[in-house]
Symmetry: C2
Subunit: 326 residues, 2 copies
Amino acid sequence: MSDVAAAAGVSLKTVSRVVNYEPAVTPATRARVERAIQELGYRRNDVARSLRRGQLSRTVGLVIEDVANPFYSAITRAIEEETRAHGLLLITGSSDEDPEREKALVQALCERRVEGLLIVPAGRDHGYLRPELERGTAAVFIDRPPGAIDADVILLDNVGGARAATEHLIAHGHRRIALVADVLTITTAKERTVGYEDALAAAGIARDPDLVCTGLQDDDAAEASVRELLALSRPPTAIFSGNNRLTVGALRGLGGRTGVALIGFDDMELAEFTDPPLSVVAYDAAELGRRAAQMLLQRLGGEGGRPRRVVLETTLIARGSGEVRP
Amino acid sequence: MSDVAAAAGVSLKTVSRVVNYEPAVTPATRARVERAIQELGYRRNDVARSLRRGQLSRTVGLVIEDVANPFYSAITRAIEEETRAHGLLLITGSSDEDPEREKALVQALCERRVEGLLIVPAGRDHGYLRPELERGTAAVFIDRPPGAIDADVILLDNVGGARAATEHLIAHGHRRIALVADVLTITTAKERTVGYEDALAAAGIARDPDLVCTGLQDDDAAEASVRELLALSRPPTAIFSGNNRLTVGALRGLGGRTGVALIGFDDMELAEFTDPPLSVVAYDAAELGRRAAQMLLQRLGGEGGRPRRVVLETTLIARGSGEVRP
DNA sequence: TTGTAAGCGTTATCAT
DNA sequence: ATGATAACGCTTACAA
């Protein structure tokens, strides 16, 4: 900047004025400065800028489980849209469901002085965030509630969605319905399991432990579980799978068998083209991201008040696989 | 930091030493400082830090077309993995195939002094980057080459992949093969079109303009085109679609018709479960991101030399839809 | 309209 | 082993 000032024969401050479109500059001076900027290839340093202006980094941090998962990338995209509209850049990171990694990411983001944090929590204890929150960093949790602190959060109606799927299967005549779910320490997995069990109980169907497969962390685990389910002496006539990855595994485990009903939680890109077309519990992932970003932006805008909790509804999309009869 | 120093009864510099794990500090002093840090909830300010240390922001910028597209989110994830290993955070943004948006994003990233730039270019003229490159910001282009400047780039063998797909269809007896492609100003779309035409020419099949649908920007456009193709007096017996979004549209346009062969460029999540299973031109999207990040990291590490150009191979995965006979 | 001086939170340099 | 001081590139407050 001082180089530009020298080249244009003005003071530092005048260059600053030009760069920031402050009005108090003669058109002639402005032109001279702009020429110098062009020639020297000067570009304002936002790092230095935010330092002096009081910690406003104009960035927001996002920690999710895995960007490569369509569920999270849809959320990411929606958040990006909202933040961009406010001139905020987005720093992203994947935690891979590892609490340590989540914490390390959040800390790196805080050191970089992001103005706000959007987190799909992997860990259960977010006490480590308290100092940040007290110091004014806003935080909004997505998809799962925070642990050990109180903060804004936006969730899905997991219990309701899982219950609806299970009820749907029951309504189509199934009584031996298997569950394929992730580790139950993940609240979404837990809630979807509860929804499944609620529906069975309401229909007076005893919960058969043989049919409940939990702790499945990837598609391979789901595939193996489904194979085992099919090998039972009394195999299930229907399967409810708890998320998009597990649904892929379940389909693989079914190996083309179309006689077993299947409903998956999370809509998927080619769901309408599988054989039979895949019935799913769907919801608006983009809306999840959008609302989270909006809540964060409101907090950044100075909005006070108690932490809020928003729950988004799910919809059952019946395409065929969930309507197969026993 | 000065608060911490005061609380611990030491100087600013000593706190800095503790925070940076510099050896020259008595264990006793260190302990005292660390207690003060705990109590005050102090966290190092990386913004100020990078200012003094000479512009090392420890961040890298990534500009892609759309994170919500699985192709790009896979790339993003791989890049994240590489940069994380080097302590670099990733700032991401989607250009939506809009050159202005790409440029605005890149400029915002440069103002924030990212150390390096990873770009899937939307525009054709990257002259605007020259000042940044001269000043030492590294840049690597992904999936498409830069325009008007010379820089490292990692590409896919689009011509080869498209040619292989078309040859495969020809080998299965097709002579009326339709093309469903994006706007040809996008180099990947152009190259895939060239590969398609090459294969036809090599087989002595005249290019029928009725069968060549280009300029399709989304799945809806592809769906409409496929419907029109099927309504021709002499409809195609096979379709080659130029990317994952267009493939979704093509499938929709086919409306369950299984008699028309289909090969898509880009593998997809449920491709193995469609009816018939979807044949695709696949490649390692993660590898694309990984290699790009590695090239960037090498440049950041001071590696000189002429810009490099890496081309990744594609593989034809025959699952069924590409093997349907006319 | 333009310029000067101070300071944002940190690290580098040089003393002690 | 510890500290004083300047400096990073910029903006704010004030002066001319």
